[in-house]
């Protein structure tokens, strides 16, 4: 059967090769996992069970249940957001759907989407599937992988139509505070860029509160904020996310959503509502655990002499590695049974680095770092 050109021309993710290698090997400790090792808080799981028991198995409103939208609008007030739950909130099947909807609803074929790199692997392909051209914008280790006005300018993003980025960042763990975001916001305003801010890791910010670019002057009207329950509440498999944006953008995204998804999973919506209502303490405990592991892993890498900047978000650190990162990761996996993801699969600027996830228990982290140390000797 004929496969559409834009799909055929999109290569499979570079992560796949490491997934297959890791699946084949025995006694592997994986630091290559991009999701929490915790289960969703019990109260949220119980709400999902309860919804099933009560037979709540129908579609919801396209935009998501009204109580959940209100809950989300209240919840994001902590980041300084103020969105109307009726007109400016859309509940989606994971943040990934929100990214896809924003791309298809706000970007025309032939438009250019600027994608800072290294970054989550889906942004480029999602833009491609929407018919847009992708403009990579490399970020640099020397700048702790923050997106800068200079990087945007040098990459030619002044001529782009949209910009998508993710802070706290997957894969680097970098965060950007309001001071760092201000010049990016000025650039977006000056060059009239639509901004898709993927803030899925917002709750996992260490040593400070998360800042959203949408709260900077003149940015709310040009920004789609994408969030979700997967990382903060350890609910990846429930597929629940959301988009926050001005009414015309949400209306456009919902147009696609109502024809392609109808509504986000109903069971997950009940879990999400309970998560927002009663699971703040559980999130705090998970966040504290991640933070301790983060400091542990950073210390261990520094003891080994691997250069590693102080990643302050998500659950990744992004150390430099000697030599070619793909080869290093492959040898580390086959010789010592530790899976990490080579930085180069996340795009330009990632080469020579490894994405190390600390969404894994302390015992595994101890053993894995000991094996990495042995491998380096």
């Amino acid at each position: 059967m004929k496969v559409a050109d834009r799909v055929r021309e999109t290569p499979p993710s570079g992560i796949r090769k490491f997934f297959e290698l890791a699946e084949e090997a025995d006694d592997v400790i994986s630091l290559g996992v991009g999701e929490p090792d915790f289960s969703a808080p019990w109260a949220a799981r119980e709400a999902a069970i309860d919804a099933l028991e009560r037979g709540r198995t129908s579609y919801t409103a396209n935009r998501g249940r009204a109580d959940l939208r209100r809950g989300i609008a209240d919840h994001v007030a902590r980041y300084g957001h103020d969105y109307d739950p009726d007109r400016e909130v859309l509940v989606t099947a994971g943040a990934s759907e929100a990214v896809d909807l924003a791309m298809r609803a706000l970007v025309d074929p032939g438009d250019t989407v600027a994608v800072p790199q290294p970054s989550y692997i889906s942004y480029g392909p999602t833009a491609t599937f929407a018919g847009a051209d992708v403009l990579p914008v490399p970020t640099r280790a020397a700048e702790e992988f923050e997106l800068t006005e200079r990087a945007l300018r040098e990459a030619g993003a002044a001529d782009a139509d949209a910009l998508i980025f993710c802070y706290p960042n997957n894969p680097t763990g970098a965060v950007m505070d309001a001071d760092a975001l201000t010049p990016v916001a000025a650039f977006a305003r000056e060059h009239d860029l639509t901004v898709l801010a993927d803030e899925i890791y917002a709750a996992l910010t260490y040593g400070g509160e998360h800042d959203s670019i949408a709260t900077l002057p003149g940015m709310r009207e040009r920004t789609v904020v994408i969030g979700g329950f997967s990382k903060a509440y350890a609910m990846t498999g429930l597929r629940l996310g959301y988009a926050l944006a001005p009414p015309e953008a949400i209306e456009a995204m919902n147009r696609i959503h109502q024809y392609t998804m109808l509504s986000a999973p109903t069971t997950a919506q009940f879990a999400g509502l309970e998560a927002i209502r009663s699971c703040a303490d559980a999130v705090e405990e998970m966040r504290d655990a991640y933070d301790r592991r983060r400091r542990y892993v950073l210390s261990r890498f520094r003891e080994m002499g691997l250069d590693c900047f102080e990643a302050e978000g998500a659950f990744y650190v992004f150390p430099e590695c000697p030599g070619d990162d793909e080869q290093f990761a492959e040898d580390l996996l086959t010789e010592e049974g530790v899976a990490v993801v080579p930085g180069s699969v996340f795009g330009e600027g990632g080469e020579g680095h490894l994405r190390v996830s600390y969404a894994t228990g302390m015992d595994e982290l101890r053993e894995a770092t000991a094996r990495i140390e042995r491998f380096l000797d």
Partner: protein, 162 residues
């Protein structure tokens, strides 16, 4: 070390981890952690370190009972006085003064039910201030000190994911 609570949480989670590992997780030096733990011990915050045991899987026999105790006070006898007399018995693993229908809640352990009931009958009930005892033998333990004995969930996540 400023954050006493963080250190306590780490010790509660795994008291066997090395001082070096605690130092790494808290951005402190080993010496700082060493002295912070010594301070906790000296201040009577930390009284000891124990394993969380699921006796159902152990070879040794082990019987545990939760005993409710009602006592009668008078001018000369206070709760602390009676508590001392009860807690001195090595069979009493835990002793707490509680609110509600009874005064003390004790955990008594032994090698058999006969041991435990005999101990309560012979050593606790005869204490003059003790007016009533109710003994509840533990049938099964599902969770102890935050450790879920049934939680052996395999990590079913994909080994590498974006």
């Amino acid at each position: 070390m400023a954050d006493q609570r963080e250190l306590l949480e780490l010790l509660l989670e795994d008291a066997r981890q090395s001082t070096a590992d605690i130092a790494r997780q808290t951005d402190r030096s080993e010496d700082e952690v060493e002295s912070a733990i010594a301070d906790l011990e000296a201040a009577g915050v930390v009284h000891g370190y124990q394993a969380v045991v699921d006796w159902a899987n152990a070879e040794a026999e082990h019987v545990e009972a939760h005993v409710e105790l009602n006592v009668e006070l008078d001018r000369e006898t206070k709760y602390d006085d009676i508590a001392g007399r009860i807690a001195n018995h090595p069979e009493v693993e835990t002793l707490r003064l509680v609110s509600g229908d009874y005064d003390f809640s004790a955990v008594v352990v032994g090698d058999s039910m006969r041991d435990v009931s005999g101990f309560v009958a012979d050593q606790i009930a005869p204490i003059p201030e003790v007016t009533q005892t109710v003994t509840h033998f533990v049938m099964d333990t599902y969770k102890d000190r935050g450790v879920d004995f049934g939680d052996d969930r395999d990590d079913d996540r994909l080994s590498v994911s974006p």
